[in-house]
Symmetry: C2
Subunit: 99 residues, 2 copies
Amino acid sequence: MQNHLVLTASVEREEVLRYTPAGLPVLEMWLRHHSKQNEAGFERDVTCEIQAVLIGKQAPLHAGKLAGNTVALTGFLSQRSLKNPRLVLHIEHVEFVKG
Amino acid sequence: MQNHLVLTASVEREEVLRYTPAGLPVLEMWLRHHSKQNEAGFERDVTCEIQAVLIGKQAPLHAGKLAGNTVALTGFLSQRSLKNPRLVLHIEHVEFVKG
């Protein structure tokens, strides 16, 4: 079952790096995406804000360095928790986008 | 700016086909995705529900035929409206998944 998102976005806000009880590093952030997309032969303005989380050894490497930057991300979508259906992007790969 | 989602999901609910004031056909639906994904070296259960919309000439072709089926979709994410930040998948391509 495929679940793969490729997104370029600006990091609007970055939380402080935290650790799970099992000691896994977790970096949460808020992303804002804006682009023009083609749909049914028309070009439309597309905007979305989405929460994202980077879990594991990449997290400390990026902590404190993402806010205010534009990044290219890949990852999968999951609901926040069993009781909270809000969608969160679980980041698998992150790269800075110049300019 | 990239914004591309590849998702396999079951169509939980499908709205009746409608038309915009400009005459564009619109098919709205609710999707449910469930899979196992790898994150930080662990396999985790991933679930998400997302609203999706198919706009344009594909819409009448699929109207009334998607509910209850598993489909493979590609498209982009947009917030529902200026005032409603809920994420909606704008479908660019849909295929039935057998079994």
